[in-house]
Amino acid sequence: MSETGSHNDVSENLPSEHGARGGDVAVKSDPFANPGLPPHEHRRQDIDEKAARHSERVVAGLFMLSMLGTLGFIASFVVFPIDKIIYVFPIGHVSALNFSLGLTLGVALFAIGAGAVHWARTLMSDEEVADERHRVDADDELKENVRQQWITGAKESGFGRRKLIRNTMFGALTLVPLSGVVILRDLGPLPEKKLDHTLWTRGKVLVNTNTDKPLRPEDVIVGSLTFARPEGLEEAQEDFQEQIAKAALMIVRLKPEDIKDKRERDWAHEGIVAFSKICTHVGCPISLYEQQTHHVLCPCHQSTFDLSDGARVLFGPAGHPLPQLRISVNGDGNLIALGDFEEPVGPAFWERS
């Protein structure tokens, strides 16, 4: 045996037969030898016909219970109106139909199973038998036979000899799946700059998402959290979901002296600040506001932002602050945007600078 091969040859490390104890005959000298299959012990049902008949009745009883379950299912389906609510202790108020259908179906199915298992355990033979195992792999003769067939086949194809055929075939087979890739191109448009812009433009009025009314500075009081969308974006619009997914705003009023970040103060209107509602982590809408600390928390992954300090990340998996929207007031006294966000809203991506 060569030294280089010695680490692969581990036969000497593996236990010999006595270690593995694969033998099936009890050897007197070995106290740990496999004693062989224990003698079969009869159950009561095997020797007492009365016990066997009892088991038979139990099994039949279970099958009959199943029939009753099915009848109960049909009856429930017919009897209970779909909107009937009942009180069931201790679950509470539940749909009568769902409750009765589920339980009767459960009984109908479970009883069949219980009957079959009880039948197998009490009445069918419980004598354990042994089957031989056979090695999975083929013997050498068979291996050689298959090898010869393979060689003959390969030779007849000329695959090894006619290199031109082989190489062009590989080329064709490599290229042909490309069609399958190309045809997927129209799954969607190219990203272009779509993620960089929202509906916000200079002069666009902020509309309260809950009241559908334009937001006025006096509506926003210290300690409350208001959500806003751009004027003109209506639910019935075809692209409402895509637009609101980017344009949703979160409005709070802070005391101007509480705002630590200078740019935030400049972009605010009398302490009213507008931040993107979409979390910069993976895009959940942020909705938990702690009025004492001015922290907002994303309920999905708990990223915490400080709205009094440029919405910087205080904790959690978000990687950058929430983008702020510059706001002001127009002639009608409504809050308006002074332009789009200066950076893309929502989760970060490769093209984001």
Partner: protein, 544 residues
């Protein structure tokens, strides 16, 4: 059978059943197939039914899933709700959501089937993980079953994605939030993230396509793949014959148990009905995924306590506890805070998938194994398995950090930091502790073999000494406790060859030898009693 088919004296078929069998045999070779399988032996152990739970819950999923397709509209066209559920009157929603509402409130039995479907999905994946752990800890993945291990693992992996695409279909507020999370994760992919997202959603999120696309993936592509893998998995179970635990009469060369017909058919067939019955009862009493309380999805709305289905919890944990790293340079952003968890998620799964091959390489064991290991006798493997599970559960805690925080009045920051540290520390501790426990159990087995079982009977000897009576084990018990092999670790070989020339040790061989020492060295197994030790103790003094 006393006659063969070509004997002219063979009687013709007498009853309709036999005639059908004859007809089928002439076309499909039914009798030859039945000959080797009808009385096939299956060993019995409670843990062997875990795989059956998987099979049956999958079957239930197909049955109930087909029913749901009869009523579900996989469309994101918007409609205004005018159904019987008053709180959503006049609310705009997708047809997908509206049809799920229709199934839940207007189709009699629809809610039941929906709930059976969802409960089965949770049970299916839970059963797959527990079944996989059974196979792992008993070493049932060893040759010749490595490929079947991979089939099973792939089923688990696909099952998770089938579950995810399934619970995203109703387009409710909770599932939509999960899809948004997926979109954010896809966006984090370097270079191609935005392209992948646009192609996946047919444009900007959420678009009007993903329900329809998820639908074909959920009801056709993934279940089709899974059904194929499942059949292959079962064919291999038949082909290899089932493993068995060591015991009286059980060897590497036989399989001891009950025949397929009738015992196993009755038990396994009955078990299908038991599983189905129990899931039906659960669906009757326990509400799952009440989409009506969450409302339709809107990207600017969310509910607190948003949680994915449990099997996605560990990926949720990864994404929650990861620090928000972003590298910005040359006008680009590398979103490591999201991309790393996205990559670690399959790696955690892969770690367990490749284990059988690593173990086979380290131990150099290429033989067939049909007798199962007792987990204590393979402390390193058992330790690795427990470490993997520990990591999984640590991440589940991370995925539910808000739930833990609100239920146990803990700081969410503290939980998150606990998970961050535990991610690295807990698996190591779990490995170390498990190995110690295994070695302790091996020592106890050794004592039991040599000194017998403690009976609890105290005996007073004539000279006043008290002793506890030990009862010697039966031969069957002795055999079970000593049946395992205790291989020696692999050696690298001598530093110099036979001519005294220094030999360059292959670094791969060195690594293998080191890992092999870790597996089978003296710190990893307690020598099992030898026959001589046993004879010496039992034949001599001190036994009662």
């Amino acid at each position: 059978m006393s006659t063969t088919t070509d004997t002219p004296t063979r009687r013709g078929p007498t009853n309709p059943g036999e005639r059908i069998a004859e007809w089928t045999d002439g076309r499909l070779g039914l009798y030859k197939l039945a000959k080797s399988n009808l009385r096939k032996i299956f060993p019995d152990h409670w843990s062997f039914m875990l795989g059956e739970v998987c099979l049956y819950s999958f079957t239930i999923l197909i049955l109930t899933g087909v029913y749901l397709t009869l009523f579900f509209h996989p469309s994101m066209n918007e409609v205004v709700y005018h159904g019987p559920y008053a709180p959503l009157q006049g609310v705009r929603m997708s047809e997908a959501y509206a049809s799920t509402m229709h199934i839940s409130f207007e189709v009699r039995g629809g809610l039941l089937i929906r709930q059976i479907h969802h409960w089965s999905a949770l049970i299916f994946i839970a059963a797959m993980i527990v079944h996989m752990m059974r196979v792992f800890f008993t070493g049932a993945f060893r040759r010749p079953r490595e490929i079947n291990w991979l089939f099973g693992w792939t089923l688990l992996f696909l099952g998770m994605f089938t579950g995810f695409t399934g619970y995203s279909l109703p387009d409710d507020l909770l599932s939509g939030t999960g899809v948004r999370f997926m979109e954010g994760a896809v966006l984090s992919t370097p270079v191609v993230g935005t392209y992948l997202s646009m192609f996946l959603f047919g444009g900007e999120f959420p678009g009007h396509d993903f329900v329809g696309r998820f639908y074909s993936v959920h009801i056709l592509l993934l279940p089709g793949l899974m059904a194929g893998l499942l059949v292959a998995h079962l064919i291999l179970v038949f082909f290899h014959k089932h493993t068995q635990f060591p015991g009286a009469g059980k060897t590497e060369k036989n399989v001891v148990g009950s025949p397929l017909l009738p015992i196993y058919t009755a038990k396994a067939g009955g078990f299908f009905f038991l599983v189905f019955g129990i899931i039906s009862a659960i669906a009757a009493v326990a509400t799952i995924n009440p989409i009506w309380t969450m409302g339709p999805y809107r990207p600017d709305q969310v509910s607190t306590g948003a949680q994915p289905d449990w099997y996605m919890g560990f990926s949720e944990g990864l994404i929650r506890v990861m620090p928000g790293w972003e590298i910005r340079a040359w006008g680009h952003t590398l979103v490591l805070g999201v991309f790393i968890p996205l990559m670690v998620f399959p790696l955690v799964m892969m770690a367990i998938a490749v284990y059988p091959f690593i173990e086979a390489w380290v131990t150099g064991d290429k033989r067939e194994h049909h007798l199962l290991d007792r987990p204590r006798n393979r402390p390193v493997r058992t330790g690795f398995g427990v470490a993997w599970l520990t990591l999984y559960f640590v991440l589940l805690v991370g995925g539910g950090n808000d739930i833990f925080a609100t239920h146990f009045h803990l700081s969410i920051n503290a939980i998150t930091w606990f998970v961050r540290v535990s991610f690295f520390v807990a698996p190591v501790l779990a490995y170390w502790a498990t190995k110690r426990v295994c070695l302790g159990l091996q020592r106890r087995d050794r004592d039991k073999v040599l000194h017998g079982r403690e009976t609890g009977i105290i005996k007073r000897l004539p000279h006043g000494e008290f002793i506890e009576v030990h009862e010697l084990l039966s031969q069957q018990e002795l055999h079970v406790l000593t049946a395992h092999a205790q291989p020696r670790p692999i050696e690298v070989g001598p530093e110099v060859d036979e001519n005294g020339v220094e030999r360059k040790a292959n670094p791969v061989a060195k690594l293998q030898a080191r890992m092999s020492r870790n597996f089978y060295g003296e710190h990893s197994q307690i020598p099992k009693p030898t026959a001589e030790e046993y004879e010496e103790i039992t034949s001599g003094h001190g036994h009662h």
